[in-house]
């Protein structure tokens, strides 16, 4: 186990403004953790030591001169290495992008700089974000700090692991089928996929432009609120008030979403539902019938769009991809246009159904992952009587909300007897990402 999280953004900010710490001290603490653990956990692809220390010194100078950029001022962050940071490579964890150097910051990174954040490094990921375990990376498989024999989830696995191992206070990831929420659940922290279209995707290597999202990965829901607003260009986030659980109307989409869960995950989820009821929330059941077709819809969209983006390099330098990612991309070249368009129509139907389910309540609640973090190298996991592919299980409960575009957040929901985290997913109304953060913060106090 290599779990040494630093303070939350919120806590660090209070200590910084009381003069009890400095941005340089925070950056140095993260750099020391990187020095101690990065070689074994393979969390970061690039460590930006000198740049980070200079940014931290600048943050301290500004604060001393009375310039406070807001809650992200002086906060050490990592950035998924799928997102451009000007002047350094964006590897996408692939040999395909060897010698690449980003000309400028992605808009979300520029906003973080404006908010005073300190960038300590670029985080490992599943190659081109096309996988859920981080096992396929040109820089080696990232490992889960809670149990290094297990995956941190993916594709933003290095981002989540960097927080749990103390290499950063928070991170920025991307989520096409669950790639923020899956590693957040596998590592026992918080991950937010905002409403689709809210955060700019410029300077982000695409996987599937229809389904890609950028979002924060943090230790707490309060921190997700702060980082989400900075990413949205509002460095001074509005005051945050968690929603009271008493009186909340919640719904569990049981068919499909609760059909195939590991026993320990089901126990933690049902315990969370019981705690919410005991605290005064109304929890009912609901149904999203098209969710059962979600995997088929998702597959046809993501394969087609990824294959189109990668076609030239698949032809020119196929040997530079890891074999599993190359095979997945090649498969996308066989999807018929008519089936892609059927899938896009299915996406619209799914959106209508999730709209209907969530419009009757304040939020949907469901597990984030049907299993705990899988062992590295595992191809299947047994649930009940059947062996199921890890990739299918990892995406099963999250991809629906990439297709529908609804804001969805994963927060910690207890641990198994072996100490492995489980995640609870909270899904809200499209365009009301702030509201889902408030609801999640109320729930977090009860179930984390």
């Amino acid at each position: 186990m290599d779990v040494h999280p630093g303070p939350t953004i919120d806590e660090f900010g209070r200590r910084l403004r009381r003069g009890e710490t400095t941005a340089v001290a925070a950056a140095n603490a993260c750099l020391q953790r990187i020095e101690a653990a990065n070689a074994s956990l393979r969390t970061l692809i690039l460590v930006m030591r000198n740049e980070a220390l200079e940014q931290a010194r600048q943050a301290d100078r500004e604060l001393a001169a009375g310039r406070d950029r807001g809650p992200l001022h002086g906060v050490p962050l990592t950035i998924k290495d799928l997102i451009d940071v000007g002047g350094v490579p964006t590897t996408a964890a692939s040999r395909v992008r060897e010698h690449h150097v980003a000309r400028e910051d992605a808009p979300v990174v520029a906003r973080l700089r404006d908010a005073g954040a300190v960038l300590v490094g670029k985080a490992n990921l599943h190659e081109f974000a096309f996988g859920t375990t981080n096992e396929d990376s040109a820089f080696g498989a990232a490992r889960n700090p809670i149990d290094p024999s297990r995956s941190p989830g993916g594709s933003s696995g290095g981002s989540a692991a960097s927080i749990v191992s103390g290499m950063a206070l928070a991170s920025v990831g991307t989520d096409t089928g669950g790639s923020i929420r899956i590693p957040a659940a596998a590592c026992g922290i918080v991950g937010l996929k905002p409403t689709d279209g809210e955060l700019p995707l410029g300077g982000v290597v695409p996987l599937s432009p229809t389904l890609d999202h950028v979002g924060p990965i943090t230790q707490t829901v309060t921190d997700a609120w702060l980082l989400y607003h900075a990413l949205a260009g509002q460095p001074s986030a509005p005051a945050f008030r968690p929603a009271p659980v008493r009186g909340l109307r919640l719904a569990v989409p049981r068919p499909y979403f609760c059909d195939a869960l590991e026993d320990e995950v089901r126990e933690r989820f049902e315990a969370a539902v019981a705690a919410l009821r005991a605290a005064g929330a109304t929890v009912t059941d609901t149904d999203i019938p098209a969710a059962a077709d979600g995997a088929a819809i998702y597959l046809h969209i993501v394969l087609s769009e990824a294959a189109a983006y990668h076609a030239a390099t698949l032809d020119a330098v196929p040997y530079r991809y890891s074999p599993a990612v190359r095979q997945r991309l090649e498969m996308g070249r066989y999807v018929l246009a008519e089936d892609y368009l059927r899938a896009m129509a299915g996406r619209n139907e799914l959106r209508r159904q999730v709209d209907a389910a969530v419009s009757a309540v304040d939020a949907l609640v469901l597990p984030t992952l049907p299993i705990v973090a899988p062992s590295i190298g595992a191809a299947t996991v047994r649930i009940g009587a059947s062996e199921q592919p890890v990739r299918n299980l990892m995406l099963r409960l999250t991809q629906t909300f990439n297709l529908s575009g609804h804001p969805a957040l994963s927060l910690p929901c207890g641990r198994t007897p072996a100490g492995l985290p489980c995640g609870l997913q909270v899904v809200g109304v499209r365009g009301q990402t702030g509201r889902i953060l408030q609801i999640a913060a109320g729930i977090e106090r009860l179930v984390a």
């Binding site: 098209a290 077709d293 995997a295 088929a296 819809i297 597959l299 046809h300 394969l303 074999p323 095979q327 997945r328 090649e330 498969m331 066989y334 999807v335 018929l336 008519e338 089936d339 368009l341 059927r342 899938a343 129509a345 299915g346 139907e349």
Partner: protein, 60 residues
């Protein structure tokens, strides 16, 4: 004339099975036999997608 005959020849309808056969033949011709299992999985997903009838019907 040839066009009309092709349109009404049921053996030339683009079923998932016909698509899969062509896709596998193409993958093998390209030296990618490892795609066969993946394409069979994709075919299952395509059958499911088509059965859900999301694409509309020109007669409706």
């Amino acid at each position: 004339m040839i066009f009309v005959r092709r349109m009404y020849n049921p053996t030339l309808i683009m079923t998932v099975e016909a698509w899969l056969k062509m896709a596998i033949a193409d993958a093998e011709a390209r030296g990618l036999p490892e795609l066969v299992t993946l394409l069979e999985g994709l075919a299952q997903a395509t059958r499911r997608l088509r059965a859900a009838a999301f694409g509309g019907d020109a007669r409706a």
